[in-house]
Structures are given as structure tokens and as C-alpha cells.
């Protein structure tokens, strides 16, 4: 029996993945869509098919917009695999996936990795304490469970999501003790150079300013220019106080919950595992896979779209997902190149309009140095409890890259496989060696990219032998 080969397998059912899968299907392609969550939407539109909060004003219209993509998906003949984790993709485009504790393989002519973003790790002294959580996590709890963190509540960090979640929690009736803005004041001057782009992208700028004004109007304690952030625990080991400096004064605020955020970065675990070529994005301070104008990576037949290709936001992800689908349809002989280009033209114009504000936002919300190069006592690898000081010590002993500090310190060897420390470790090494981060590189990521029981792996091998 010959195994089915899908024209396109899409990994990730966020805006890029949903739009790409739907579009590809409309052009007659045989499509499978794989996603880790129980329902489509990705993180930005998490649970949008069945949102938890009764009051739709809490999450706002930008969130509910995602329902359109989920509905479109449901009117197609796509093979949709929910609660499915891709843990390996071979060079022959065979995907190894785990579904409900059992592994199987899928074959694809073309693959689209639409694995989205993850929040940038926010290392500071005390970030591992129970009660400290990312802003994205708080938003997920709001969307899918209508849960809000216990007070007193403090939010700290930089970026659009910080203000958005503060506004959403406020609308949900949650009392916020303070919002600590760690955006370096020098960023405002640097960002001005990209001010023209910001003006041309005025809609988004207006929205951001709107949150800021509304939060101030609501009487929420908004403190800017915050530095030297740290958190302390009480005798129970939970977070109890947040310490910081503002305008030369040391300050302390009591809290039971501390939500932190420093922007989002592409999820590159699969493209790394496939050894696709990656580039360092200086403005966004992160790695992204190198692609052509249709999203095809250095590995032919393997595409990326959406935030996993570089941070552009949900709307840009959706549009780019469609571009990629047309290119795949073209490569599979279902769409002529002239027709592809005709379809793509208006979408590229929309994309340009959406992306025009990015340089301004990227520079404005570049994390403060204290979160990129944390002080020695800060844990950088949460899994193996390796501190920034440990990494610096091993660089002093001659380690020149993350794979060496990994061997010496175990940083990056825990269950998260470097997702929470990879950027920080590489940046610390680059700073200590006084070289560009490209010369330092990243961890070598290997399959399985998510921890797997040995029994599950063994069952896949024996199943394969029988065939």
C-alpha cells in the first residue's frame, strides 16, 4: 500500500496557518493542518471558536476578528489534526507527529511551518518565582478560561502586549497596582528616525496610544523609565515584592502576581532542527529563518509564514499565509505563475502597509540591556538553573558558543530545549567575547523537539519495521 502524500502539510493553526491551509484547499490541494492546541486559532486567536469570557468587551474586536479565519477553515476539506505535536521533519519531508501519546508519520510534497512566536525570555532576578508569569500567559488564561490573576497585581516590561493585557484586565474589573514600563528612554529618540513609517502606519500607532491614554485616564499607576527590576519571595516561596528604580529612586511594591513581557520572537525550533539558514534581525533582536519573497526557506519545499518567519503581527501573518499557499499551488501545478502574481499583487500592497510601522515599533520596544544581558545572579536557564554568572564564567574558561556552554553548564539541556535561554545565552557570550552574535550562533536543535516517552518512540520504530 503506498502511503498518502499530502500536497501541503501546514504546521500551526494560527492566522498564517489557517489562511494558508484554507487558500491551498480552495486551489484543489490535498492539505493537512497540524496543531498542538485542542482548537484552531493559535495564541493570538486562542479559543476564538469558543471564547470563555461572557463579556466580549474584555478581549475586544481585534480578537473576535479571528473567528472569520476559523469559520473559513471549517468549510474546507482539510485534514485537521488537533492536539498534535510535530517532533521531527526529515529531509525527505516525512513528519513525525505525536497524537494523544502515540506517534505516527505523515508525508508531504511541501511543508509550511507557521509555528508563530513565543514571548522573549525576560530574565531578571526573581523571574522564576511562583506568581511571576508572562503577559501572554495571562492573556491565554483570559481567552480560554476567563481566569484573572490574584491581586495585588503588577505588570512590568515593554511592548504593545503589556499595554493591551493591562487594558483587558482593567476592563475585566481586575485591580492593577502598577504598570512598570521598562522601555529605555533612549529608545524614543532612536525610534524617531523611523517616525515617518510610524505616521504612515498611524492606525496602529493610534491604537497603541489609545491604550496608554485610557490606562492613565482610568487612574492606573503607570510608571515609566523603570530599571533594575527584581522580585522577592515571602516565606512561602511565592513572589511578594517587586523592586525597581525610577528616576534615581529605589522603590518597592507589594504583589501576589507579577506579569512580565519584553516582546515576542519567532519560534524557530523546527527550522533550526531542519538546519535551515537563519539570520540575526538587529532591530528585532532575534533570529529568523532566511526566506525568499514567498516564504521558502533555504531548504527547498519547506516554507515559513507569519511570526515564525519574523515578527509582523496577526494580520500580516494571515496575508503572508495566503501568499505562501499560492506559491505552493503554483509549484504543484494548480495555479499558473501569471495568475499567482495577479492574486499576490494586492496582498503584497496590504502587507507593505501593515509592515511600514514595524521598524518604529521594533526600535521603540527593543528590550533594555538588563533583560538581554542580565546581572550575574539571574537564572537564565530555568530548567537546569544556570545563572548568567555561570555562563560568563564558562566563556572566561574558553567557551566560544552556546553549544560549548551547554556542555559545560547544562544550560539548554532541560525539557524546554533552550527555548527559554537560547537568546540570552548567545547574547551574553557575544557580549563577553565582544563579537557579533552571528559569530556565536545558536544551540544545535535536534529531534525530538519536544520530550517524548521512550515507549512512544519505540512503538513508532516497530510500526515502521512492519511496513
Amino acid at each position: 500500500m503506498s502511503e498518502r502524500i499530502y500536497d501541503l502539510v501546514v504546521v500551526g493553526a494560527g492566522p498564517a496557518g489557517m489562511a494558508a491551509a484554507t487558500t491551498a484547499c480552495q486551489h484543489g490541494l490535498d492539505v493537512a493542518l497540524l496543531d498542538e492546541q485542542a482548537a484552531p486559532g493559535g495564541q493570538i486567536y486562542r479559543s476564538v471558536g469558543k471564547p470563555a469570557p461572557a463579556d466580549t468587551r474584555v478581549l475586544g474586536p481585534d480578537y473576535y476578528y479571528g473567528r472569520k479565519l476559523v469559520d473559513a477553515l471549517q468549510h474546507t476539506q482539510i485534514d485537521y489534526f488537533s492536539s498534535t505535536t510535530v517532533w521531527d521533519i526529515s529531509s525527505e519531508r516525512v513528519l513525525s507527529v505525536s497524537i494523544g501519546g502515540h506517534s505516527r508519520t505523515l508525508r508531504a510534497a511541501k511543508i509550511l511551518l507557521a509555528t508563530g512566536a513565543q514571548e522573549r525570555p525576560v530574565p531578571f532576578p526573581g523571574w522564576t518565582l511562583p506568581g511571576v508569569m508572562s503577559c501572554g500567559a495571562a492573556q491565554i488564561l483570559l481567552k480560554s478560561s476567563a481566569l484573572t490573576p490574584p491581586g495585588p497585581l503588577v505588570l512590568a516590561g515593554s511592548g504593545p502586549l503589556l499595554l493591551l493585557i493591562a487594558w483587558q484586565l482593567h476592563k475585566a474589573g481586575v485591580s492593577i497596582s502598577a504598570v512598570l514600563d521598562t522601555t529605555p528612554s533612549s529608545n524614543y529618540f532612536k525610534a524617531l528616525r523611523h517616525g515617518l513609517g510610524a505616521l504612515r502606519g498611524w492606525r496602529m500607532l493610534f491604537k497603541g496610544l489609545g491604550y496608554l491614554v485610557s490606562l492613565r485616564k482610568a487612574g492606573i499607576n503607570m510608571l515609566s523609565g523603570v530599571t533594575k527590576l527584581s522580585a522577592d519571595a515571602d516565606s512561602s516561596g511565592r513572589v511578594a515584592q517587586v523592586h525597581f528604580q525610577q528616576r534615581g529612586h529605589s522603590r518597592v511594591i507589594n504583589c501576589k502576581s507579577l506579569l512580565v513581557h519584553q516582546g515576542v520572537v519567532p519560534n524557530v525550533q523546527l527550522t533550526r532542527a531542519m538546519d535551515a539558514r537563519h539570520l540575526w534581525h538587529e532591530q528585532q533582536q532575534c533570529w529568523h529563518p532566511q526566506t525568499d519573497s514567498w516564504g521558502e526557506t533555504s531548504i527547498g519545499g519547506v516554507f515559513v509564514a507569519g511570526d515564525s518567519a519574523g515578527i509582523g503581527g496577526a494580520l500580516a501573518a494571515e496575508h503572508f499565509g495566503r501568499l505562501t499557499a499560492w506559491q505552493v499551488a503554483c509549484q504543484q501545478g494548480r495555479l499558473g505563475s501569471a495568475e499567482r502574481d495577479m492574486l499576490a499583487r494586492p496582498v503584497r500592497q496590504t502587507l507593505n502597509r501593515l509592515m511600514v510601522i514595524r521598524p518604529f515599533l521594533d526600535v521603540l520596544y527593543q528590550p533594555a540591556v538588563e533583560f538581554l544581558l542580565p546581572v550575574d545572579e539571574t537564572i537564565v536557564c530555568r530548567c537546569e538553573e544556570v545563572s548568567a554568572g555561570d555562563i560568563r564564567r564558562f566563556v572566561g574558561l574558553g567557551c566560544s558558543g552556546p553549544n560549548q556552554t551547554k556542555a559545560f553548564s547544562r544550560a539548554g539541556m532541560g525539557p524546554c530545549q533552550g527555548r527559554m535561554c537560547g537568546l540570552t545565552v548567545a547574547q551574553i557570550i557575544a557580549a563577553e567575547r565582544n563579537v557579533a552574535i552571528d559569530q556565536v550562533g545558536y544551540y544545535t536543535i535536534r529531534a525530538p523537539i519536544k520530550p517524548l516517552c521512550l515507549g512512544e518512540l519505540a512503538s513508532l520504530v516497530s510500526h515502521g519495521d512492519k511496513q
Binding site: 461572557a54 522564576t128 488564561l141 478560561s145 476567563a146 525539557p415 527555548r419
Partner: protein, 110 residues
């Protein structure tokens, strides 16, 4: 479990109730909650201790990245709580330090 550590539930679309056991106590989770969400709603914080130093941790990212939400579910250690939905009768316990081998695994490897 302390009441003041519990995440608060807003007025929500009725998803139905799922009865689970969290650290020995009965808890009404909402259908559609992940195990990590239920753990936070029940106030089981910290939800694990680390294998290395035994320090306290709780769910951090809620999207499958950080592995801080590891708990024991129905006798299976190191389950990623934020990637697992609650199910009726589920028994959820904190993950204490490193995982151990279950009885079945011990027999398999002995």
C-alpha cells in the same frame, strides 16, 4: 492550597463543569480548562519543585514553551499541564523534583 492564591473566574460562557482532584481536594474545573489553568484556579501554587535545587515553580508561559507547569496527572509524572485538557475524575498532583519510574516502567526495565 490558599484561597488568596487562586486565580479568579470571570463571568463566562457556560462550558460545563469537570470534576477533578487537585492535590487531594475536589475541584470544579471548567470544561476547556487546561490542567495548568485548573491548577492556578485551585491555587495549587507552587505546582512543582525543580529536580536540581528543589526550588518552587508555577506555570509561566501557558503555551507549551517553558515546561514550568509540569505536574503529575493520574499517576503519570512530568505531564505538561498547559498542553493537557482536564477530564472528569482526573487526579492532579504537584511534580516534586525529578520524575520517578512508574511501577509499570520499573517492571519493564528490571
Amino acid at each position: 492550597m490558599q484561597h488568596d492564591l487562586m486565580f479568579k473566574r470571570l463571568a463566562n460562557e457556560d462550558g460545563g463543569t469537570v470534576l477533578v482532584e487537585i492535590d487531594g481536594a475536589t475541584f470544579n474545573a471548567r470544561a476547556g480548562d487546561t490542567v495548568a489553568a485548573a491548577v492556578l484556579a485551585a491555587g495549587m501554587i507552587p505546582s512543582r519543585t525543580t529536580p536540581l535545587s528543589g526550588s518552587s515553580r508555577a506555570p509561566y508561559c501557558m503555551m507549551g514553551v517553558c515546561f514550568e507547569c509540569l505536574v503529575e496527572v493520574d499517576g503519570v509524572p512530568n505531564v505538561q499541564g498547559c498542553m493537557t485538557l482536564v477530564a472528569e475524575g482526573m487526579k492532579i498532583l504537584p511534580q516534586t523534583g525529578a520524575r520517578y519510574l512508574s511501577m509499570a516502567e520499573q517492571e519493564m526495565y528490571s
